[in-house]
Symmetry: C2
Subunit: 339 residues, 2 copies
Amino acid sequence: MIATDKVLLGHGSGGKLSHNLISGLFMKHFSNPFLLKQTDSAVLEFTGGHLSFTTDSFVVDPIFFPGGDIGKLAVCGTVNDLAVSGSSPLYLSAGFIIEEGFPFNELEIIVRSMADEAKKAGVIIVTGDTKVVNRGKCDKVFINTAGIGYIKQENLHIGEGSRIMPGDKIIINGTVGDHGMAVLSARQELNIKSNIASDCASLNGLISHVLDEAGGIRFMRDATRGGLATVMAELAEKKNFGIMVEESVIMVRPDVRAFCELLGFDPLYVANEGKVVMVAEPDSAQKVIQVMKSHELGKDATIIGEISAENPGKAWISTGIGGKRILDMLAGEQLPRIC
Amino acid sequence: MIATDKVLLGHGSGGKLSHNLISGLFMKHFSNPFLLKQTDSAVLEFTGGHLSFTTDSFVVDPIFFPGGDIGKLAVCGTVNDLAVSGSSPLYLSAGFIIEEGFPFNELEIIVRSMADEAKKAGVIIVTGDTKVVNRGKCDKVFINTAGIGYIKQENLHIGEGSRIMPGDKIIINGTVGDHGMAVLSARQELNIKSNIASDCASLNGLISHVLDEAGGIRFMRDATRGGLATVMAELAEKKNFGIMVEESVIMVRPDVRAFCELLGFDPLYVANEGKVVMVAEPDSAQKVIQVMKSHELGKDATIIGEISAENPGKAWISTGIGGKRILDMLAGEQLPRIC
């Protein structure tokens, strides 16, 4: 139906070319009864209770990287933001801003990635929008996804962490720094070859597995921009507890560590896209680890630290040789356009 | 709290500068209990029933134009998409993609516009995201808004138009072409002075007024990209009815008409941002007009045509001198980046 191999300004016009784009590409891959109605809004039915609602724009550069692409990332990112709020992700919106001249075959790969990942995560893309801007006015393609999830009553406070207590254990489901270093290694200007793949994954399956089978979770957050260190610093900030994590038990792939050292990055500050930090009550922590390890995305789950009554408002890391340092938020930008 | 007058890459990092941006700008203007929690997702309570969910990205150029700016537009656009689905708009998300170096004072004007318009429309901006891309990788600022509305049972089919019948009247709440020509006249390269202001407005107040006081509405759509003509062509497409509108009764401001003639545009295809097309059952049409006229945004409400059993699938316009022509969707793009 699309008689050109590149995206034209007219594909964002709302006219015939827009219709061709919708029916020939988006409907083909995202097809579901909500989108088929082609109404201005999707109509969704709920039984009542609490919903979570979130949004994220994705501007990753490059748009294709080992382990994923901007489409997969756009689905995983919003699914994960919903999941760490204690909700089951249900519906996504997708807003595309595309540069005039962007190749259709690349757009189709991205849209197919979104459809595949949505299917995997069990969410439905129910509404969307496409804008096309003149050549040079954006960089290839940006994608916004917003999402709606359903929160069971018992998980209502997990996103806030208002029930965290000293002695609670801090858990992460695996290695840190993979996503950031995978994207960076894919940037042509660096001309570096590596085997690092992004950890980009929808975590809702792992998270619901832990909530259902283990319990005792008092807080969750995905460690994206700013990495594990920023989650720790944010969590401690302005609270009446401190955080102490143990550097030696935080897993970093050797190639990620080597790449970080080469470029002067701290892997604790590098973005992940498939890592969730959980705070669990002390008695549940071992069970959480055991349940996590039984899931594909939690095989490397580790207790990395605990909530402490000391040093309220601060996150500390013990550096293995008896020393410790503060995990503060970065002032500036370590890696622009990592997600 | 912001020690620079321009947006830096670090403002999109998730670190300290991001926090300053959120607390110093977004919280200041959007402040509400949902945002204050600073969780990954907003937690919303519903009693059950049907919700509408929609998304739109805004890339208008220029970002400031007579009658509005990209911020006001981003709120109105999504509010209107929800409202024409028969729902009461409740919650919005806001995703910003900002070019490095964009002036903070302009960003603050835009954010304030969003806050003002949200207040006016009675919606709450409950979740957001900010990305900053390197200079030259986007054009100043793009904004995505997604929105959630609540649909009363009796309005559930209004967005679909599945109940439209021959004889139904087609109504619009005023002049066409204002938004497109206002934006175009603001483009510096044209160097044209005009008094045309965008009709950019949140239509949910007018729409609920009509639904509550008049009734008999079988379909609604806002006439944005592609203008009134595209709404008519889309509505008729693949249906077992035709559409006949009367050109002479469609109101176009004289300066909009003159500007369109000068530049070779058809005002029926020019974008509006404060115009809703309604299809009303014949017995209700006069009451709808009367109720619309009692609202500030419906003062110029007019019956412009009707649903016909003839020419199924086609929208026709009678041209006043006994002739008629088909209103088809445009093949390409008349005005890029109009919203």
